[in-house]
């Protein structure tokens, strides 16, 4: 009789009053959902902090402080300057005269010497002379020059440098900042977009203003090409063979375990493998995106194979049966029916693998792609694979390790470029996946 009781109790209870058991269950569910929501909110909060910090710290890298000045040189002035022994100094004097002129027309009376000006914008004489040598037609016409200010002045505009920090600095003196302030008030010194950062190559250790991520970006793009061109076909072919054709036995089990283990091997191990095999045995060039790409391919392959196999496994066997049933060969069944259905999953795995490869620094360390000061761009499309270059994360690492605080902004800015590149790559993958999914 006792075992009838719960049943009876349930039958007699009102549906409008949930019983204790139901209440407990609902409470547990509510708690769980609250925890989940809290976790997501916490994650979002940290993401927001991260993005905000990166943007705040990285934004200054995309602008630089320039001294903008309109200069009109008459043919006579140019001839006189060209007749001098120190030609660039003659141009510099013309520049100083023009600057004083402009300050006076704005009603500002600031005294400055050539030394102060040099500490602010370096030696502009050479730039100006080179411009008029290259464009003799512009002699006699007004020409606007944008001269990059020195890294300390740049730091002063960013708030990194102040009068206090400039005590006994030989690069910029506290008194020079009065001139800087005056020029800024006059609108002559101002922040402008820094194209060099996006297109330039790395600069020397004492010239953060001239440093750019462009060459490293090209290096990364080349490496991604190598990874994509090798890892995707090899990975897909290996997965298809293992999943669809290979007999299930000890050997394939062993291969499967090995691949899973390789996916967990620290990336620096792949770096030393690349050094040993590609450079020391095969004598491929050091520091080259080709070798970097090969190393990253090795690192990415397990990821791509594992996700591709999972995607192939997820295709219902009925699709294979259907194809074989109408007399398709196994290869036709795979390529006509299974692979297209697995494509979205394969793309997801590929993009995860590529993203990992894109952000990898450690293996590049061993093949000489870190700490390398790029000379500039490769000389040709093909040469890009074999000429020494760096990669974005390696470039960021290099900047972060440099003493000059001017590189600090560059490192943050480099991270922004890296993230934008990554997001673009993801976006392309998502669009491609949509196309495959929309098929049915």
């Amino acid at each position: 009789m006792t075992d009838m009781n719960p049943d009876k109790a349930r039958r007699s209870a009102s549906l409008h009053r949930p019983d204790a058991r139901t209440r407990r269950r609902n409470a547990a569910e509510k708690r769980f959902r609250a925890c989940g929501l809290a976790a997501i909110l916490l994650g979002l909060f940290f993401l927001l902090v991260l993005v905000a910090t990166i943007l705040r710290n990285g934004a200054p890298a995309f602008t630089r402080t320039v001294l903008e000045i309109e200069l009109t040189l008459s043919p006579a002035q140019v001839d006189a300057a060209e007749a001098e022994v120190f030609k660039t100094r003659a141009y510099a004097q013309l520049f100083i005269a023009a600057l004083q002129d402009q300050l006076e027309t704005r009603g500002l009376d600031v005294a400055f010497d050539a030394g102060a000006l040099e500490r602010i914008v370096g030696q502009p004489g050479g730039t100006i002379r080179a411009h008029f040598q290259a464009n003799p037609g512009q002699i006699g016409e007004p020409v606007v020059f944008e001269l990059a200010a020195s890294s300390r002045v740049d730091g002063y505009f960013n708030g990194r440098v102040s009068r206090a920090t400039l005590q006994d600095s030989r690069f910029l003196q506290a008194s020079d900042l009065d001139l800087v302030d005056a020029l800024a008030d006059a609108g002559i010194l101002r922040r402008a977009f820094n194209l060099t950062f996006l297109t330039g190559a790395d600069s020397g250790v004492d010239n953060p203003g001239g440093a750019g991520i462009g060459a490293a970006l090209v290096g990364s793009v080349y490496m991604m090409f190598v990874v994509l061109a090798l890892a995707l076909p090899i990975g897909i072919a290996a997965s298809i063979h293992l999943e669809e054709f290979a007999p299930k036995n000890r050997v394939t089990d062993l291969i499967e375990v090995t691949i899973s283990n390789l996916a967990a091997v620290p990336s620096i191990v792949f770096g030393i493998l690349g050094l040993a095999v590609f450079i020391q045995v095969l004598h491929l060039p050091q520091s080259a995106p080709l070798v970097g790409g090969l190393v990253l391919t090795l690192m990415t392959l397990p990821t791509i194979i594992i996700s591709t196999r999972a995607a192939l496994k997820a295709v219902p066997p009925s699709v294979r049966d259907a194809a074989l049933g109408v007399g398709a060969s196994q290869m036709q069944a795979v390529f006509h029916h299974v692979l297209p259905l697995a494509m979205p999953g394969i793309l997801t795995g590929t993009i995860i693998g590529l993203a990992q490869a894109l952000g990898e620094t450690a293996p590049l360390l061993l093949i000489g792609m870190v700490g390398f000061v790029a000379r500039g761009y490769p000389e040709g499309v093909v040469a890009g694979f074999t000429e020494p270059n760096s990669a974005m994360p390696a470039q960021i690492y290099t900047w972060a390790a440099r003493a000059d605080a001017g590189f600090y902004d560059k490192a943050w800015g480099g991270i922004i470029v890296l993230l934008v590149f990554l997001l673009t790559m993801n976006l392309i993958a998502i669009l491609l996946r949509r196309r495959f999914e929309r098929r049915w």
Binding site: P247, K248, P316, S318, V319, R320, D321, A322, A323, L324, G325, V326, G327, A328, S329, Q330, Q332, H336, H337, L341, R439, W440
Partner: protein, 270 residues
Amino acid sequence: MFDAPHPTLATPTTPPTRTDPKIAACNVDVHYGTTHALRDVSVEIEDRTVTAFIGPSGCGKSTFLRCLNRMNDTIDSARVTGVILLDGEDIHDRRVDPVQLRARVGMVFQKPNPFPKSIYDNIAYGPRIHGLARSKADLDGIVERALRRGAIWEEVKDRLQASGTGLSGGQQQRLCIARAIATEPEVLLMDEPCSALDPIATAQVEELIDELRASYSVVIVTHSMQQAARVSQKTAFFHMGRLVEYDATSKIFTNPEDARTESYITGRIG
């Protein structure tokens, strides 16, 4: 009614029936790893006849059906022994390409499994890979004929480019049948083709099977004895991996020789 040999004694020496059998299977055994799924099955399947396989589930009907077009080749653990002849030729001969065999012995599966492609492409796939169409118009004709014979043309003729997976279950199964006959097979194997269908769709498929008998040899696995009685001329009863009895359908259902067959059709086992 002619005198059929006693099924449990069926051996390679079975006297030939009046016409040569389309498929002759002798002493077929199938193992899945250590499971002995099919034991010593010998059977002759006639052309232009509907042959039904009945029996309790797990008795090896599907296994045997899959032997006939070598679909068991795709299962790693499966091991098939014995001789199966199609038109007198051994299908396990080294020279036989299973792909070519499957083009001649089509198969319809238990669960409708259209390709996730358009209705048109579902039908056109087989003819395309076998090179049956010389031109686009040719292919269009094949597709239309197959869909008509699959009794689904009227329902889909206006949406040939729509997805095959968007059809109802019964329509999908008829699409799969149409797909199977588009490659013009000689034998059509159907593994419980109606188990996922409602009674109306079932009736349509049964009607279709009856029409197909005019040109094909149809082998149908079914767990519905009424269906076997309605559509088939010959019936084979399987039990525990053995072929217990094989005879004219009317005989099996009215006057079975074996006690197990009788128990099964009267609903005492299965």
